[in-house]
Amino acid sequence: MSTAAIIIQALLTYGPDVAKAIQAIFANNNPTQADWDNLFNLAEKPHQWTFVTAPVVPPPAQVVVPLP
């Protein structure tokens, strides 16, 4: 698979941002320290593990059968 085909696949699957990032990686034949720092920044991007709280399902109401 050619580089162009891989980038087109990334574009179709993930959208332009990811395709652009992969294209930049492939086009770079002389990576600098800044390129490495950008990669490390992406890998260490502050991650928010703040998920929304799930509503609690109340237990089913007990049916009280009146005694005859």
Binding site: T13, A21, L39, E44, V57
Partner: protein
């Protein structure tokens, strides 16, 4: 549900693309070690970033639903597993950062990163299939 399937499909595609890209790197014999390293690691990091975003979306979608205590416990266990795998990945990035200055001299890329990234991608894919 459709959203979840779409996200799952994206994860699987990301993992597949990652494998294809890594296989493609094998043809890059004429490239310098530093170039091969930045392309390989760049692909991995982007794949993990995608999977991580997808996992967050999945968890938030699940948690927005009314869950039973058992379902909540299962989801929390899954979150803990992914967090642990993510910590391994972060640790591998730290190792990589220390090794990176040597790549231009032909030093090998630490295998720890590939292992940790694959484990994280596999875990996210598996948990989303199971759930």
């Amino acid at each position: 549900m459709n959203r979840t399937r779409k996200e799952l499909s994206r994860d699987l595609s990301a993992a597949l693309l990652c494998v294809v890209l890594l296989a493609t790197m094998g043809n890059a014999c004429s490239s310098s070690p530093n170039v091969v390293a930045v392309k390989t690691i760049g692909t991995l990091v982007n794949a993990v970033d995608l999977a991580r975003s997808s996992w967050d979306l999945y968890v938030n979608t699940e948690m927005a639903k009314p869950l039973t205590p058992a379902q909540t416990a299962t989801l929390n266990a899954s979150i803990a597993k992914v967090q642990a795998a993510y910590q391994d990945y972060v640790a591998a990035i730290e190792v990589l950062k220390k090794a990176q200055p040597g790549f231009s001299n032909g030093d090998p890329v630490p295998a720890q990163l590939g292992t940790a990234a694959s484990a994280l991608l596999d875990l996210i894919t598996t948990l989303k299939v199971v759930n």
